[in-house]
Amino acid sequence: MSDVRISTHVPIILSIVAALMLSIAPMPGWADPFRPTWVVLTLIYWSLTLPNNYSVGSAWIAGLILDVAEGTLLGQHALALCLVVYVTVKFHLQLRQFPMMQLSATVFALLALYQFILFWINGVAGVNSPAVTYWGPVVTGALIWPLLNIVFVGIRQRAR
């Protein structure tokens, strides 16, 4: 469990906290449907790079915090994040071989899975959530992934 030093974890946890902050930061109304799901992107990256340390457990905790921050049903984001990270860790060896374009496409699929779970739970629970713009974050998330990747590689090199 500890192939990485403690000091490595601090920047990683900080990046997850920063992602949480970006998810609750105030944004102009028109941009809100396109806000990338920062926490998911961050956790996909870290579970891809350090699957022994960041896996379903961290995803679940981050998801619960996200549930409270966004005022959704408790467990909704937790379940969706957990599933996405599970798939990522499960196939991390293949995913690491992917070129950037293909990885972005995979991220697109993972984000779509994430939004689908949220959408589906909303539907079952009877929470109204209309409109195709629900899927805006999937597109922006996949588009921003290559940039985010550069940032994270920077964090990682700084950390070790």
Partner: protein, 318 residues
Amino acid sequence: MAAPNSNSQFGTSFSPALGFRFLLLASLSILLLIIDHRDNHLDAVRKAIGATVYPLRIVVDAPVSAWRWANETTASRNQLQLENSRLSTERLLTKARLQRYAALEAENARLREMLEATARVREQVRVAEIMSVSSDPFRHVLVIDKGTHDNVFDGQAVIDADGVVGQIIEAGVLSSQAMLISDPGHDLPVEVNRNGLRTIARGTGEFDRLDLPFLPNNADIEPGDLLVTSGRGRAFPAGYPVAIVESVTRIPQEPFAAVTATPAAALDQVREVMLIWASTPDKTEVEPAAESGDVVEEPGQAATADGEPDSSEGETHE
């Protein structure tokens, strides 16, 4: 979901544990979802996690409040003078109106006493600032900077200067979440001010539109009618303006008319909101079941603790 235990193609040591952990956490999430959806037994959990989110909100909100502060401090003298004079005229007008209102209220109380009806509950009001707006565009939820520490409670009415904004859905310790009346999941019992016709105003997900889905075709309602809270249903006090009827479309085949209304409060522009506490009325006898009598709270020290002069009762009804 893939079969969680087919890990043989990877020689990594964590795989079987991973599938197990995932199943465990997933079922835990589903359990949480069911419990949370059924009833509110998880309030304590929510509050505990909410306490960790609070500092994040402060940090996130810092640039916005810094910008507002900078704007205020660098406002020109001229601007300030203009605003000052505008505010003092406004205050004069409001005071004049309030005088008349006080007399009316006394008269109303006297008449009600003669009729042996229950005295209307007086309300106390306190200003709260908005910390952030829900990041989910389909949930119209605000976070305000008052919590149970300031006697905020679940279901409390939230208004602004023009009308009803929403109600508290989750009172944290130092901050609370309020659902706007425009949220698709929000229903508010209202009545038409003109004739007392009671109905339900439902949020649509748009800030500038409410639906009144349960009015029959022959209902006496027309564009321009003011809708006020009826005080039925939960803790909402009666008589606050909610919306103005915008259009009434009567469709002969359908059982209900299609009625839309525009909220009186500018829901997408609110900066400060007011919280309402029903305080003990000056007349001592109050039927607890009537009006908004079920709001039991000690607002006395809440409104006066900071010496805020903004505790007033009621609103201007047109």
